[in-house]
């Protein structure tokens, strides 16, 4: 099992650790509901250093990124980031990722920990024009400092004006005394905040500085458990649950990051799918009767016919009701359509709901 720079720190803080994507990771500290509320209402820190980072550099870096990703990276300017995905050549998804433009010839791709090798091999196999690729995952730490108080806490540690960094933008600067920290207005919680990328050897000091700065706001460490409930309340996809090598970006509701104005892997397949329509679609739903949907549970209609499958589900800590996402036959995906989730052989009533579940 691989470790992240701060594994020992998490253990010392009393975290419950689990193996996730081959890494020893903190899954919870004070308890999932408490951690979830901390991020929604104040500020919490996730150590997501298991995630992968690739640097692509050279004249043809943009060309390579354009060919392997679905979103249009040509619209990025220096200091901008975008959400994107890697179509797999068979109509599915290799991974979802963030594309950062450092400068005209330098990009950083941030990928899921479970897919680092798969993504590296996939992108390398398309690198026919000599783009310099570096996998810096093992020496890079990533803290996601999320919540409405994140900006106030972090501003104490940098002269970079955080309020001037728009959503999906970043600055590289001095943070807590260390140069070249990437300060990115991103995150996967819907709670606002920043993500900090830096070299492993600064991890201990940056972590301590962030907690000192956040003390007055009640800052707490947050585990992967709450990360999952926070992203699900926003209806954000999790690779391996809601999207994978068998789901198309269009079925998954990722049409907004699938740009047909450029050439890329699966463009023709996806264009045809867009025109012809597709048989199933990823939607959100809420439970009407008591039950908690979980990944893999069948979705059926009132007569008990199979109409789909649950991809993610949980009890929403903010809304205090059970929510989920799943693929359903397209004709049954209109909001307010009554569906049933098969939970231990019982069909429990639910209703198709627009995402995000958590309205602003």
């Amino acid at each position: 099992m691989k470790t992240i720079a701060l594994s020992d720190k998490h253990i010392a803080l009393g975290a419950k650790m689990i193996e996730f994507a081959g890494y020893n990771m903190p899954v919870s500290y004070s308890g999932l509901n408490d951690e979830h509320a901390t991020v929604r209402n104040a500020v919490g820190v996730f150590d997501v250093s298991h995630m992968g980072e690739f640097i692509l550099k050279g004249e043809n870096a943009l060309d390579l990124i354009q060919r392997v990703t679905s979103n249009d990276a040509a619209v990025l300017t220096d200091g901008k980031a975008q959400y994107s995905c890697l179509p797999n050549g068979k109509g599915g998804i290799v991974d979802d990722l963030l594309v950062y433009r450092i400068d005209e010839k330098t990009y950083m791709l941030v990928v899921n920990a479970s897919n680092i090798d798969k993504d590296w091999n996939w992108i390398s196999s398309h690198n026919t024009k000599g783009v310099d690729m570096k996998n810096i995952s093992d020496k890079t730490s990533l803290l996601a400092v999320q919540g409405p108080k994140a900006i106030d806490a972090l501003q104490k540690l940098t002269s970079v004006k955080l309020a001037d960094i728009p959503y999906y933008s970043f600055a590289k600067g001095n943070f807590a005394g260390f140069d070249n920290v990437v300060i990115s207005n991103t995150g996967y919680t819907g709670a606002g905040g920043f993500e900090l990328y830096f070299e492993n050897e600064h991890a201990n000091k940056i972590w301590d500085a962030v907690f000192e700065a956040g003390k007055e706001f009640g800052i707490k460490p947050i585990g992967l458990g709450a990360r999952d409930t926070l992203r699900l309340e926003m209806g954000f996809c999790l690779y391996g649950n809601d999207i994978d090598d068998t789901t198309s970006p269009l079925e998954a509701g990722l049409g907004w990051i699938t740009k047909f104005t450029k050439d890329f892997t699966d463009k023709n397949f996806l264009l045809a799918q867009k025109e012809k329509g597709f048989a199933r679609k990823l939607v959100g739903f809420e439970m009407i009767d008591r039950g908690i949907p979980r990944h893999g549970y069948p979705i059926v209609d009132a007569a008990g016919n199979n109409i789909g499958v649950v991809t993610s589900g949980t009890q929403s800590p903010t809304l205090s009701k059970a929510i989920g996402m799943g693929y359903i036959k397209t004709e049954l995906t209109k909001a307010d359509t009554e569906i049933y989730i098969q939970i231990r052989d019982k069909n429990i009533k639910a209703v198709v709901t627009k995402i995000p579940f958590l309205k602003k």
Partner: protein, 126 residues
């Protein structure tokens, strides 16, 4: 973590408290910690006679779901109504207000097969 001396335990992380010819059943402090924040307890076997190690219900936590097994054979006589409205009692008071069911003891010899507090602690390595 707390493991009262006067209870019997199972490898499925449940406890049994014998009161005359009836038994109270719940999950251990270790189990509630592993499950995390509990959302509800679904007992589907009220007034039914359920065999030893057969599922009498399920416990749903935010992150996961787990079956609940009968530590002994018996009839499910009562479900704790307090935890229906306040499932968090299972987290905060697993041996007290967080008890789950009361059942009859149909085969007294099954009680001797349950784990002592020492054996249970050994099992979970504390």
């Amino acid at each position: 973590m707390i493991f009262p001396e006067n209870l019997k335990y199972t490898k499925d992380h449940e406890w049994v408290r014998v009161e005359g010819n009836q038994a109270y059943i719940g999950i251990t402090d270790f189990a509630q910690k592993e499950l995390g924040d509990i959302v509800y307890i679904d007992v589907t076997t009220l007034n039914e006679t359920v065999g030893k190690e057969v599922v009498f219900g399920t416990v749903e936590a935010v992150k996961t779901v787990s079956d609940l097994f009968m530590p002994i054979s018996g009839k499910v006589l009562e479900v704790n109504s307090k935890i229906d409205a306040k499932p968090e009692l299972v987290n905060s008071d697993p041996y007290g207000d967080g008890w789950m069911i009361k059942c009859s003891i149909d085969k007294t010899d099954e009680l001797t097969g349950l784990l002592s507090v020492t054996d249970y602690k050994k099992l979970i390595g504390v």
